[in-house]
């Protein structure tokens, strides 16, 4: 999270101070989430850091290639935080289970990094931002919201 925060806050720009403050706030929220063992607070720290990264990028017209790395670092931070919050020292986990989980996380981060680079590379290709692209984006967002509602509704 610190690495992601550093990358986010070193973007410069007009709102560099806001970006740095946001990164610090994100670290604080994550710390509180870890200390208080609030699993739902970790994504908020990611959201804050993403916001501060965005603030740091204000004024830049070129797409930042480091965003791929920041995204993966954020995922890694969120996953490790979730692991830490879940961990109960009364429950002993078998070693192969821990190794498998770590490998799964590393694999996920690797795939996410590749996917992010592909995504950013494709964004560099000049394409008209038409109604179709906006519709696809909106549909993805609506699908994500639907997923939230689906799993947040008690059954």
């Amino acid at each position: 999270m610190a690495a992601a925060g550093a990358l986010a806050s070193t973007g410069g720009g007009r709102f560099a101070a806001i970006a740095q403050g946001g990164a610090a706030a994100a670290m604080l929220v994550l710390l509180v989430a870890l200390v208080q063992r609030w699993p739902s607070a970790a994504p908020w720290s990611v959201a804050i850091l993403a916001g501060s990264y965005l603030a740091g990028r204000t004024g830049h017209t070129r797409v930042d290639g480091w965003a791929a790395v920041v995204g993966v670092l954020l995922l890694l931070a969120a996953e490790l935080a979730s692991w830490s919050v879940e961990a109960d020292r009364r429950i002993v986990a078998e070693r192969p289970l821990v190794v498998r989980r770590a490998l799964t996380l590393l694999g996920l981060c690797g795939v996410a990094l590749v996917a992010n680079f592909l995504l950013l590379a494709s964004s560099a290709v000049a394409a008209p931002s038409g109604a179709l692209l906006a519709t696809v984006g909106t549909a993805a967002a609506v699908a994500a919201v639907a997923l939230v509602v689906r799993f947040a509704t008690p059954r």
């Binding site: 994504p43 797409v63 930042d64 920041v70 009364r90 078998e94 795939v111 996917a115 992010n116 947040a152």
Partner: protein, 424 residues
């Protein structure tokens, strides 16, 4: 298994929705790059999640053991489908402690795999302990969904109290008609010399005391005391107890009752049991090892049950209190109902001995103030109560946890001897 979504799923989904909307509104592709890993994790997690099919069974190496002994519990977990992670927890009751093994444990199971967890447990306290249920919680590889299940089958582990070996016990005042180890007061066929009397027709020649006959100049025969058995009823007061740091007066009373039952049964006496408390239970007097097992089995189910019902001794069947039986009561003298019942028994003419299982070691005296004064008054009232029982002809001895039971029994025996002399 009951499924539910973790807060992580909702958090990631909310983050993804927020990021995608923001990237659309702000036209920043970097935001998509920040959010895409979370979307990928969500997709991968939900795609890999399969409902786990797990069955759990528990078994005990020994179902009966003595207080302080160890046994193994086996928890077998069989998976019909692959389970990436399952936490298994066997709930252990208060009187059982884990000596070896891991509980709870997180493990991974392949489809068709069965794992057996062995836990070595020790019965810290006597009683009927229910082991379980076993709780299982499975989750998908990325922890977005969880499934919980409870294996309701519970194993019963019966831990019997460890008995003291008693050198001497309280001897009943009266004997019964069957052969036993107690010397009867009345005269009859036996080996213990009682008296001399003049020979009468029908007396066996082997009973003639030739030395006494030579001195007296007439035939004199020996009279003897027969060896008879006795009826003993053990009265356990379970209305109230004093308890501190996992030990209490009921534990002491139960251990003492088991020791007394064992000692009396060895003497071929008939022994009965009355558990007088919120739950009333009794065993009719009987003899032999089977009766001892019955008593101990009944004892380990003894527990304090809160009750406001004022029980009297009338509620106990008459057959469980045979005439001329010795009643040995083990009571902390904390509840007025059991004290009333003891006085009632004495008023009915029963031979009664009371072991006052002292609650004082379990009730530390307050340092100062009105609490300390109240405590001292309570101790004085307990002394007064014991004297009241003694005035009623009941042998009472206070037994503290640090003293051997034998000491209290000797005190009771001494009082009974003294009381007999006083009556004469």
């Amino acid at each position: 298994m009951t499924p539910y979504a973790t807060p992580k799923l909702a958090g990631y989904a909310a983050l993804a929705a927020l990021g995608l909307l923001a990237s659309l509104v702000l036209s920043r592709p970097e935001l998509v790059a920040l959010i895409a890993p979370f979307l990928l994790a969500l997709g991968a997690g939900l795609a890999l999640a399969t409902t786990p099919r797990v069955s759990i069974a528990t078994s005990l190496e020994r179902e009966r053991l003595l207080e302080g002994e160890e046994t193994s519990v086996r928890v077998a977990i069989a998976a019909a489908s692959p389970v990436d992670r399952v936490d298994v927890y066997l709930q252990l009751p208060d009187g059982i402690e884990l000596l070896d093994g891991i509980n709870p444990l997180s493990l991974r199971l392949r489809a068709g795999e069965t794992r057996e967890l062995e836990l070595v447990v020790r019965a810290r306290r006597w009683g009927g302990h229910l082991l379980g249920p076993v709780y299982a919680r499975a989750s998908d590889p990325l922890g977005f969904l969880r499934w919980e299940a409870i294996a309701p089958a519970r194993q019963e582990l019966r831990a019997y109290p460890v008995e003291d070996v008693l050198q001497r016990i309280v001897r009943p005042a009266d004997t019964q008609v069957f052969a036993g180890n107690e010397l009867a007061r009345r005269k009859g066929e036996g080996i213990e010399f009682a008296d001399l009397r003049a020979w009468t027709p029908g007396d066996a020649v082997k009973r003639v005391n030739w030395r006494a006959s030579a001195r007296r100049g007439e035939l004199v025969v020996n009279e003897t005391h027969p060896d008879r058995n006795t009826d003993v009823v053990l009265f356990v007061d379970s209305f109230a107890e004093a308890r501190h740091a996992g030990e209490g007066t009921l534990d002491l009373a139960v251990r003492a009752t088991a020791a007394l039952a064992d000692a009396y049964v060895r003497r071929r006496d008939r022994v009965g049991l009355i558990g007088f408390g919120g739950i009333l239970r009794w065993l009719l007097p009987g003899s032999g090892t089977v009766q001892l097992y019955r008593i101990v089995d009944a004892l380990i189910d003894t527990q304090i049950v809160l009750s406001y019902y004022f029980r009297e001794i009338d509620v106990i069947p008459r057959r469980s209190l045979p005439p001329r039986a010795l009643i040995v009561a083990l009571t902390p003298l904390l509840d007025q109902r059991s004290i009333g019942a003891l006085l009632d028994l004495r008023a009915r003419g029963y031979d009664l001995a009371v072991i006052d299982v002292s609650p004082l070691p379990y009730t530390p005296r307050p340092e100062r103030g009105s609490d300390a004064v109240a405590y001292d008054l309570w101790v004085l009232r307990r002394d007064a109560l014991r004297h009241r029982l003694q005035r009623a002809g009941i042998a009472v001895a206070e037994w503290r946890v640090e003293d051997p039971l034998q000491l209290a029994l000797e005190e009771v025996t001494a009082f009974r001897r003294h009381a007999r002399v006083a009556r004469a």
